[in-house]
Amino acid sequence: MSAAEEVEPGEIAEFRREVRAWVGANKPADPGWKLPQTFLEVESERQFEFLRAWQRKLFDAGYLGLDWPAEYGGQGDTLKRQRVVSQELNRARAPFLVNTIGLQWAGPTILAHGSEEQKRRYLRNILSAEEIWCQGFSEPGAGSDLASVQTRAEPAADGWLVTGHKVWTTLAHYSKWMILLARTDPTVGKYAGLSYFLFPMDAPGVTVQPLVKMTGEGGFNQVIFERAPMPSSALLGRLGEGWKIAMTTLTFERGAAEGSGGGQATSSAESVKRLVSLARRAHRDGRRAADDPVLRDRIAQLWIEEEALRIAALRMRVPALDSERPLALRLMNKLVYSEFNQRLAELGCEVLGPDAALWLGDPCAVDRAEWPRAYMNSFGMTIGGGTSEIQRNILGERVLGLPKSK
């Protein structure tokens, strides 16, 4: 019974009913083996192909790229109905769409900054999951301080040669393309020396090495470039515009702007409703968790916050109700969702009491250790895409007008 979706214009409501029915009928059944919870841990061919087929099915049914122009494989929908599809996928707890980086970050960035040729070349295959994308932004020495990227792109005969080291490159092992932030001019300031490329991952001189997350799962990589070539057409936007374009990508990545090709980055977005159902089943301190007054209070608090997020999403669409601080709700989106999900998953572990300590493989682990897994995975969202601390700096400086922290 959510606040948000129910009273809306007839054509949206009708579309929602249609999507809900389609997802209900077509959502893949539980395969009986472990699916990843998020796009950070796709570690086997079997998982990858399962997820890719699901995205393809959704695309073939016409539910991806609704808001993207028709000439690039989208549908040029003026009603902005893509978010309805995403909400319904979430609601149905459907598997996430494996080409998350293409759909949500690379695609909208190419739409905003790409040449006509680039838009025609890349966008459709993002939607159909024919070509998977990864992101080459972070480096061992450039995390929160992203502009200190050291990976170099040096001019060569027909383009550039890339040398450097990128980390946290989710899905790199299945990717055909990478959005790459690289230094093209070491002699100018750290921001001005960066350019943005669409890099072919099958180039020689590229090594993808798996990194293992705290859950023990892979899917999350590092990429080493040793004079890896890319053509001159790989440049997105103009030389030296890399920082500006990377900020566009981050704006999409943080959900601060609309424009996604569709989907969500996790399949198992937990909800207060699921927490309540867990609390009714779980026992701790010799009684039902749902009867513990302290837990009840904390569940109610999270319910208030969950609904606040839903109402805020509506408020963003009524500019006059958002006029005090026009950027605030958009810029806080990533921070509040990721921290909310983290606290929700953590409270799920508390609700489980001693059973929260049972991990994958134990026959008594509740729901395949979903809650402790979700709690650990939640840090991917509070750290990736700009840490919560960086988000607080951005809000403090851009919304509250506080001076920069040194």
Partner: protein, 383 residues
């Protein structure tokens, strides 16, 4: 059944104009110097300002046009109250609104015609007396009694924390009848058998009183015929939303004041707002204020769409506003440093307003208890 919140909140250009007008009006008419003066004033509000507000139609904003009101909605009201909260306007508006809600919910056409136009015109100050020495604001917990006698009723019970109790000419209060059912009574003050003792409120911009009904005899016509429990419940739901909107304005003002101070105040040769130890609490407060504002607007929009299903939203709005306002004043005083601890700094008025408001009509923990019962047990009754 919960009322879905309309996707556009029912917001119109008319709302935007009203907000603009209210913001300008209160900015011009109520300065902190005025608030300080009224804090020491025996009456506690400015009758001239009150008349102007009544003339603007704001006192009777949500009363029906047939009864002298403007017939507007809760979102209109929320926007005006938010502006009043921002400036800590000392005013009998909330109390008069609450009395009007109760009258509308349970009053006969005749009773409503008798009192509502005077409430809307600002010539009759209203008040709603719910809380008793047990400290509960829930209709369930009302213990005061009404006994039929000689064609009228005898009312007994002590009502505490009655907002504008001493200034009010009309108090609406629930009492339990011999059947155990609640009934609402509209009692004109002063009345024999009713003694009104002003409380010393921590918040000098609010006037509250203890109203003792010591066997007060009232006429049968004082009893409002509507179902007392349902009517009081509906009244409380509207009152939570109204108070929450005012609290959001207060919290927002504290955020803004503290933000400005953090930019201006220099230590170690730089604005203290550049230190993350100052910046992060302000950002967390920003998030809290915006979330509370979303809930305040959401509750108001739900009340406008269908009040029967608005309880959840109103409780959420009051709970979150209570926590956020409390956090705002705590952080506000702390981040202002030594100055924040002084009488000269205006923050202490907000601090005291937050102390008053958080406990009035039930604090955050109280509302979460009811929300948990609704969510987990599927009933409105807390375990």
């Amino acid at each position: 059944m919960r009322t879905p919140i309309p996707v556009d909140f029912g917001f119109t250009d008319e709302h935007a104009l009203l907000r603009q007008e209210a913001r300008r009006f209160f900015a011009e008419r109520v300065t902190m110097a005025d608030v300080r003066k009224l804090a020491d004033d025996p009456l506690g509000h400015d009758p001239g300002l009150w008349r102007e507000m009544a003339e603007l139609g704001w006192v009777g904003l949500v009363l029906p046009e047939a009864h002298g009101g403007a017939g507007l909605g809760h979102l209109h009201l929320a926007l005006v109250l938010e502006e009043m909260g921002r400036r800590l306007v000392p005013s009998p508006l909330l109390a008069t609104l609450w009395a009007g809600f109760a009258l509308e919910a349970a009053g006969s056409e005749e009773q409503r015609r008798r009192f509502a136009p005077a409430l809307a015109a600002g010539t009759l100050l209203g008040s709603l007396a719910i809380c008793e020495p047990g400290g509960s604001w829930e209709p369930h917990d009302v213990a005061g009694t009404a006994e039929p006698s000689e064609g009228g009723f005898v009312l007994r019970g002590l009502k505490t924390h009655v907002l504008a109790g001493a200034a009010a000419g009309l108090v609406v209060a629930p009492f339990r009848e011999p059947s155990g059912e609640l009934a609402l009574f509209a009692v004109e003050l002063p009345a024999p058998g009713v003694s009104v003792a002003p409380e010393v409120s921590v918040d000098p911009t609010r006037r509250t009183a203890r109203v003792a009904f010591d066997g007060a005899r009232v006429a049968a016509s004082a009893r409002l015929p509507g179902d007392g429990f349902q009517a009081l419940h509906a009244t409380c739901v509207r009152a939570y939303a109204a108070l929450a909107a005012e609290m959001v304005g207060g919290a927002d003002s504290v955020l803004e004041t503290t933000r400005e101070y953090a930019v201006q105040r220099k230590q170690f040769d730089r604005s203290i707002g550049s230190f993350q130890g100052v910046k992060y609490p302000l950002v967390d407060l920003l998030i809290g204020v915006e979330m509370a504002r979303s809930h305040a607007y959401g509750a108001a929009a739900a009340l406008d769409a269908d009040p029967a299903g608005a309880e959840t939203w109103a409780r959420m709005a009051k709970a979150l506003a209570s926590d956020v306002f409390a956090t705002a004043v705590r952080k506000g005083v702390q981040l202002h440093g030594g100055y924040g601890f002084t009488w000269d700094c205006d923050l202490h008025f907000y601090f005291k307003r937050a102390l008053w408001a958080r406990g009035t009509l039930g604090d955050a923990a109280h509302h979460r208890r009811h929300l948990a019962a609704d969510l987990i047990d599927g009933s409105g009754d807390p375990a």
